[in-house]
């Protein structure tokens, strides 16, 4: 679901085909019929953005038919754990959970805590509110959110009304097959077939896997889509077992790597949160804030990870006396996400911008805003393989035609540096499975092309030189950077960087063998604790390429290296039963070898090798020792799989169906229409199309979604420049159903204009049965689709789909909702020049779009007149607080 794997990950899809040939059933659930659907055993079309309703109903189906893997659920999940008495569910509050603050449009999550732990939960109080601003909802990538110290109460019989099991039952009771049909447009029979296939392929003997990608993430509640799938997979016992799991099909070749060692403003390597200006000012306080007091699990050792990172940054300069230079780390003061930054650019608050390996003029939501922002800088550095739209916007963007950018007056000075491509430099890719694969340089970079490593190394070197004499205190972090990578010629060696990332024992100078060796006393340095082990034994483990037929091919541990600790399946302790025996012979993966007294199997076991299955920790144990021998989710604070998330998500402990930010329909489940904590920016240059309960949603009656083609890559900089790819998809097009074509008089290969409140673009029409009108809430709704690969540069050009999307974000990870919006479609080409603005303006007028549209996040009161948690409910206040998106 939410992945078009055959087109976006064709090489990985070979394994799906292989599984299929061995009898696996493939089900594809997607708004449109794609090349993946063509190969699936069952294709189910659904309305974009409605997945939580679908998945919630699967949960309900499992709970009501008793199809869960009971022993697994009881032993390995938090089903039995009790939650605070004062927790209120969406069933009680018309679509909100307890703790919602209408003014900040954010939750205080303290009432979501486990019972018996809340007493000491003050540290967690209001976390979500600041977390939302700082986008730190996903800063728990490897460790899970902290839990306060204590032992939560449980009810192993699962009968207590406050236990997670019962909360789930209640939360999803109205998610019925009929509701799925009503919300998603999926016929009841099709839905039930999916349920039957999914549950019958799960259990002791069999496992089922979920594959998703950005069809799930790019939503205002994207993180919750994935949570919903996690719940199902836990209920069915599909986590930590071979053939199970939830596979995120990641994007660019190393996009996984760029979250592990992040290019994000709110994270440090290894998912250590970026310190906050309002948070603790010393290292100890910082460490305590990211792990619970007396926390169980490996996240407990966050101090060693943080200190080692600081040692890697500042080397000798970082000592225990100066708190390892913790002070020198930048602190976040609010939302510095890319969209906030772009708006700041428009507002004149940003002067310079580095753009490396990104083409936001085409690839990012709200293309026009992106271009207007970049047109208002002093300087812009673009490092890319090709001359991309983000470097040429000042002379060829659509805004030239409308007069919104005047080349002669555009103040931005653009510096374009040719970058070396991946074939022209050494390095690793970290892919979907957390697997690092080293690639050797195949050819020398041509001309002036240089690696990004070269660029940053020398930029850093020059800055250090330039500031060497400075006495300004703020230059200390730069002056003392440990900038000591091996350089050959003028090229820094990627290999030596990888070794530094792996970590070094500073006393012996040897590469570390793994993160268990990390120390908090300053004797180790490590660039990214989760990657520690990639250079174990002074060997570049990522460069191993033992073919699968020359090793145990189940996990193929000698191909590349996966974090953590070369483990291929996370939480693989769950592949054995609580006693450590494989759940079934067919699905054996790691198990307890009682004779040898250790864990063994195909993969690197997730638990400590010699911890017996029956191990019970002493009451005062912390960290890994505090995990029981049958706690498989070793990174989680309680060692359990979370059916209910007491923390970590800022928009609810259980996934709840909300309509997309822009939707033609009202939410039939609750008065609450959209995700109440989604992030919106009500600005004149970021308008939203109206959705119920606002009036005039019918001005933009169709559901719009945009995504990929196998033939092109993202913003096109790497594919529209190549003849062999360009010829395969030479033009921008819009896919519509025959029914919609008839309704709107569209001709096959004729032109259509697509209109939202942001802009209007034109595209050739492709009429195809692959697009499905759906029956939702008793009426037919049309969805239209287009690729977003086109722009003004390259061998083939076309208008950009992202000009149609606005900026509305998931509050956990600040990803834009670029997978769904509403629009209108009409036959013919779009008007040119100023007439384009007039057309868009006329639509907005008809729809009554103002800066307020879409910014009233709490819609419960409006419809049902329910009492509010916060009596200060005032829509204007919402608008002021959130709508303007000011930093606070």
């Amino acid at each position: 679901m939410g992945s078009n794997m055959a087109e976006a990950h064709p090489v990985g899809f070979q394994w799906v085909m292989e599984a299929k040939s061995r009898g696996a059933k493939v089900i594809h659930i997607d708004p449109r019929f794609t090349r993946t659907s063509a190969l699936a055993d069952l294709f189910v079309p659904l309305r974009a953005g409605s997945d939580v309703a679908f998945l919630g109903a699967v949960i309900n189906y499992i709970l009501t038919t008793g199809k869960e893997f009971r022993e697994y659920v009881e032993a390995y999940t938090n089903a039995a754990t009790l939650v605070e008495d004062d927790f209120l569910d969406t069933e009680d509050l018309d679509g909100l959970f307890s703790g919602y603050n209408t003014q900040t449009a954010a939750y205080d999550t303290s009432s979501w805590q486990y019972d018996g732990m809340a007493a000491t939960a003050s540290a967690g109080k209001n976390r979500a509110e600041s977390a939302k601003e700082e986008g730190s909802g996903h800063s728990h990538g490897s460790g899970g959110p902290p839990l306060p110290h204590g032992h939560p109460r449980t009810d192993p019989t699962l009968q207590d009304p406050h236990c997670v099991w019962q909360l789930l039952r209640r939360h999803y009771q109205r998610y019925t097959p009929e509701m799925v049909s009503e919300v998603c447009g999926v016929p009841v029979e099709a839905f039930l077939r999916v349920c039957e296939e999914w549950t019958s392929a799960s259990g002791r003997e069999r496992t089922a896997a979920v594959v998703y990608a950005v069809g799930w993430t790019q939503h205002s509640l994207g993180a919750q889509f994935i949570r919903a799938a996690s719940i199902i997979q836990l209920l069915l016992g599909n986590m930590g077992r071979p053939g199970g799991g939830i596979m995120a099909m990641r994007g660019h070749a190393s996009i996984q790597g760029s979250t592990d060692i992040p290019t994000l403003y709110n994270l440090l390597p290894g998912y250590l949160p970026m310190p906050s200006a309002t948070g603790p000012s010393d290292l100890a306080g910082y460490v305590d804030s990211i792990r619970g007091e007396g926390q169980k699990g490996f996240w407990r050792n966050a101090d060693a990870y943080a200190v080692s990172l600081l040692k890697e940054y500042w080397g000798e300069a970082a000592t225990s006396d100066n708190d390892y230079c913790f002070d020198w780390l930048p602190k976040i003061s609010g939302d510095h996400g890319t969209f906030r930054t772009v708006m700041d650019m428009v507002d004149g608050k940003v002067f310079g911008y580095f753009l490396l390996g990104q083409n936001p003029a085409v690839g990012s939501a709200h293309g026009k805003l992106q271009r207007l922002g970049m047109a208002n800088l002093d300087w812009l550095v673009v490092r890319d393989l090709a001359m991309i739209e983000s470097a040429t916007f000042w002379q060829d963007s659509p805004e030239i035609e409308t007069g919104e950018i005047v080349p002669e007056q555009c103040r931005t000075e653009v510096f374009v540096f040719p970058a070396a491509a991946h074939t022209e430099k050494d390095g690793t890719f970290t892919q979907t499975q957390r697997l690092l694969q080293w690639r050797d340089k195949a050819v020398e970079p041509a001309g002036d092309q240089r690696s990004d490593l070269w660029f940053f190394y020398h930029l850093g070197r020059r800055l250090i030189q330039r500031l060497a004499a400075s006495t300004d205190e703020r230059d200390l972090p730069v002056q003392h950077l440990a900038w000591d990578y091996e350089v050959v010629g003028d090229e820094p060696q990627a290999d030596s960087v990888l070794r530094a990332i792996n970590g070094v024992d500073l006393t012996s100078g040897h590469a570390l063998d793994g993160y268990l060796d990390l120390k908090a006393d300053g004797t180790t340095a490590c660039g990214c604790w989760i990657y520690s082990g990639v250079y174990a034994g002074e060997v570049n483990q990522a460069r191993r390429r033992v073919p699968r037929d020359q090793q145990d091919e189940v996990a193929a541990l000698q191909w590349g290296w996966a974090w953590p600790m070369n483990r291929r399946i996370l939480y693989n302790r769950a592949s054995a039963d609580p006693e450590g025996r494989p759940w079934s012979e067919r699905k054996r993966y790691v198990w307890w070898d009682a004779d040898a007294g250790e864990w063994t199997g195909h993969d690197v076991p997730d638990v400590e090798k010699t911890k017996p299955p029956g191990y019970v920790p002493p009451a005062d144990a912390v960290g890994p020792e505090a995990l029981r021998g049958d706690d498989p989710f070793v990174m989680q604070a309680d060692g359990k799989g979370w059916l209910y998330a007491p923390g970590g998500l800022v928009d609810g402990p259980m996934p709840t169906h909300y309509e997309p930010h822009e939707s033609p329909f009202s939410n039939p489940l609750y008065g609450q229409q959209g995700n109440p904590s989604r992030k919106v920016y009500g600005r004149a240059d970021n308008p939203s199309n109206p959705s119920p309960p606002e009036a005039n949603a019918d001005v933009y009656p169709f559901v719009l979604t945009a995504s990929r083609l196998a033939e092109h890559h993202t913003a096109g900089g790497m594919s529209r420049q190549l003849p062999y790819l360009s010829e395969l998809q030479p033009e921008m097009f819009l896919e519509v159903s025959p029914e919609l074509a008839r309704e709107r008089g569209l001709d096959h290969l004729g032109w259509a204009t697509i209109i939202t409140s942001r802009s209007a673009i034109e595209a050739k029409v492709l009429i195809t049965d692959r697009m499905h009108p759906l029956r939702v809430q008793g009426r037919v709704v049309h969805q239209v689709w287009m690729p977003y690969h086109f722009g003004s540069q390259g061998l083939v050009t076309g208008e950009g789909a992202n000009d149609l999307f606005g900026v509305a974000l998931d509050p956990n990870v600040l990803i834009p909702e670029s997978k769904v919006a509403t629009c209108d479609v009409r036959a013919g080409r779009r008007p040119r020049g100023a007439a384009l603005l007039e057309l868009v303006g006329a639509y907005k007028q008809r729809a009554g779009v103002t800066v307020d549209t879409g910014t009233h996040l709490d819609t419960t009161g409006g419809r049902l007149g329910k009492a509010h948690l916060d009596d200060a409910h005032d829509p204007e206040a919402v608008h002021e607080g959130i709508g303007t998106g000011d930093d606070r």
């Binding site: 074509a741 008839r742 569209l746 001709d747 096959h748 004729g750 009429i767």
Partner: protein, 342 residues
């Protein structure tokens, strides 16, 4: 609605008209795209076919005229043969994708390739034919030289040799066309040799009537008559015997050319029979008509081939019918093994 589905060709760009007006067509194709590649040969090849036919017919007439002492007819036809073949070769070479590599044809002798066979036949024919023709134009002052005398001596055997090869020159081109996958040509493998030789005869007859005075042109007139009758008959048969594929000979551009060809041939032959003996002017006019008829005949046939290869119908439907009638083609296998793995 992007076409290509069961039920046949995509009707233009109007994806919006969903409801089929006609019941499921009897054949399916891939978006109405051709299965075959239409022949790359331009009209140049038709010119060559025509001119080659003229040359062959003329060589035959010339040899007869030589034997029966009709010098004007002999000289005229010999020279025409040379001119026609010369010009024809220019068209032939010009139509190559790489004309400068024409001689690559002589790298191999390939019996399975009518073009290879034809090339060698042409090469064999060209020498004696040319010799015979040149003998006609040796200036008086060279005739007495040794070379001149040898040439004069050789002219007759050379002419005979050319005449012996001429029928092959006129007919190999029919095989050349038939040995393609182009339905209109392949299916016409019975008719095309007769059309090509008959048309060559008619055209050469026309040449004879132009170059020779009526009293020497009787054989030419008879040749034209034979040729025209056979040509007209065989052409007609193209439209009737070939079933569905015959359509391309009866419709469109090809049919227009072929009708024009038939009319001109009929007019030419009638003119020659009724007036050819009496009036030189009428004879010349009839000759021109016959030549024009032969010319359009070739163009029409070329055009029919193009039309049949460009429309998937003419490829798919006959094959499909055959499969439905007889099962898939099977060669060299006893019947009981007939069931294919399908």
């Amino acid at each position: 609605m992007a076409g290509g589905r069961q039920g046949g060709r995509r009707g233009g760009d109007d994806g919006s008209r969903e409801v089929p007006v006609v019941p499921r067509a009897t054949f399916t194709s891939y978006y109405g795209r051709a299965v075959l590649k239409p022949p790359v040969w331009t009209d140049d090849i038709a010119y060559y076919f025509f001119l080659g036919g003229v040359a062959a017919g003329c060589s035959l007439l010339a040899a007869g005229a030589d034997q029966t002492a009709k010098p004007a007819l002999r000289k005229g036809t010999r020279l025409t043969a040379l001119g026609a073949l010369g010009l024809g070769s220019v068209f032939l070479i010009k139509d190559l994708g790489r004309p400068e590599r024409f001689l690559a044809m002589l790298r191999v002798v390939k019996p399975t390739s009518p073009m290879s066979v034809g090339t060698w036949v042409l090469a064999a024919y060209g020498g004696p034919m040319g010799l015979a023709a040149i003998s006609e134009v040796v200036p008086q002052r060279y005739r007495a030289t040794r070379a001149g005398r040898v040439l004069a001596l050789l002219a007759r055997p050379a002419g005979l040799a050319a005449a012996g090869l001429a029928p092959a020159v006129a007919s190999y081109t029919a095989v050349l066309l038939s040995q393609t996958a182009v339905p209109a040509w392949h299916e016409a493998q019975e008719e095309l040799p007769f059309i090509f030789t008959a048309s060559a005869a008619a055209s050469a007859g026309g040449v004879g009537m132009i170059v020779a005075p009526p009293w020497q042109a009787a054989p030419a007139r008879r040749m034209a008559m034979f040729g025209a009758v056979v040509e007209l008959f065989a052409s007609r048969r193209l439209g009737t015997r070939l079933g569905l594929v015959g359509e391309v000979y009866l419709t469109g551009t090809a049919a227009r050319h072929l009708e024009r060809a038939s009319t001109l041939t009929a007019v030419g032959v009638l003119g020659s029979m009724l007036l050819g003996r009496r009036s030189r002017v009428a004879a010349v006019a009839s000759g021109v008509a016959l030549l024009a008829g032969g010319f359009f005949e070739r163009i029409g046939i070329l055009e029919a081939g193009r039309a049949s290869a460009s429309d998937p119908r003419y490829v798919v439907e006959p094959q499909r019918e055959r499969v439905e009638r007889e099962g898939p083609t099977r060669v060299g296998e006893p019947d009981e093994h007939g069931a294919a793995v399908t």
